[in-house]
Assembly symmetry: C2
Homo-oligomer: 170 residues x 2
DNA sequence: CAGCTTATGTCAGTCTTGTTGACATTCCAA
DNA sequence: TTGGAATGTCAACAAGACTGACATAAGCTG
């Protein structure tokens, strides 16, 4: 990493000579921001016997109702055993319903129960409030840039998954 | 969350009527991007007996050489027991040096050894390569927005910590 | 100096969440 | 029809977070 050069600015628009220092500030920003990003739902979850993994499962089941375990696995990027433990407790607690597939009986289709949907709303609301506030503070142009950089930072496969979810929005 | 209104655009500049759908896309972008953000160092760390916790400690010790345990605790936001387990292994493995404070002998000042600095470089390089590539792809304006939104998303205290680290850059 | 506070380290125990290994069920194709 | 592939479940284990209790050393204050 010896190609660091000072950033140059012309009329507010910097050329892309990125110093290690600038990049490291971005790295630290991601670290601290992610903490804030998860803080509010974490607080809610801590009151119950749940963790971040439960939140993620609930989020994406709500996002794609009827999704299979395998599909959820690909989105979350964990092992099926790890996901299964989380799903088991959510099903036992009546937040998620698992229906055997009609065509392929090996598959389980996942749905939120009304109770599950209620928790999803509570968690999402908390997270959206912070996101909305950050968006408002930074402004519309910043938000567009934010989304662009995040997307460019994803692995190829995650980028595809992300785009699929985004474009499947009703 | 019943105040959702369709986003309106005028000449590429949207007003800030943020729909839940737009916010949720931001939430998912953060989730997928953070995975990419940590993926490269995680791969390197997995080959050794280390994890993400070791990376974080090494990163901030490199960032602020001579920092005390207490200071590191505040930055990382974990318990001293948790940090201590990590530091103990790093010191035992000769990656970190702990020096008793000269003025206040209760304090331990932390430094990377040459071996520790080498690992830090290796990890940072991997992470910076991805960050640099994302920055290049998104462009300079996007980068500025990215940083603004991230900063607005942090907790107040983390924001202060982040700014202190940023401004202490040589 | 005595006693309180601060900084650090350690031990023990628990929880969440990731892992691998083994296994059951179901589907499909040779 | 039978063997392999896909899907999901159970069990055991490891990393890394947490709390609580306690020890030690050093600074500070009356």
């Amino acid at each position: 990493m010896s190609d660091a050069r000072p950033a140059q600015s012309f009329g507010g628009e910097s050329l892309l000579f990125l110093t290690d220092e600038q990049l490291r500030q971005g790295i630290e920003a991601m670290f601290f921001a992610y903490r804030g990003f998860t803080a509010d739902p974490d607080r809610i979850l801590a009151e119950m016997a749940y963790g971040r993994a439960h939140h993620r499962a609930i989020h994406f089941i709500n996002r794609a109702p009827g999704t299979t375990v395998n599909n959820l696995l690909a989105i979350l990027g964990v092992t099926k055993q790890s996901l299964n433990r989380v799903l088991r407790t959510l099903i036992a607690d009546g937040l998620v319903e698992s229906r055997v597939g009609t065509q392929d009986k090996r598959e389980r289709h996942l749905f939120l129960t009304p109770e599950g949907a209620a928790l999803e709303s509570k968690l999402s609301d908390a997270q959206r409030i912070r996101m909305r506030s950050a968006y408002k503070e930074a402004g519309p142009d910043a938000v567009a840039g934010f989304r662009q950089v995040l997307e460019a930072m994803m692995d190829r496969e995650m980028r595809r998954t992300y785009a699929n979810l985004r474009d499947s929005a009703t």
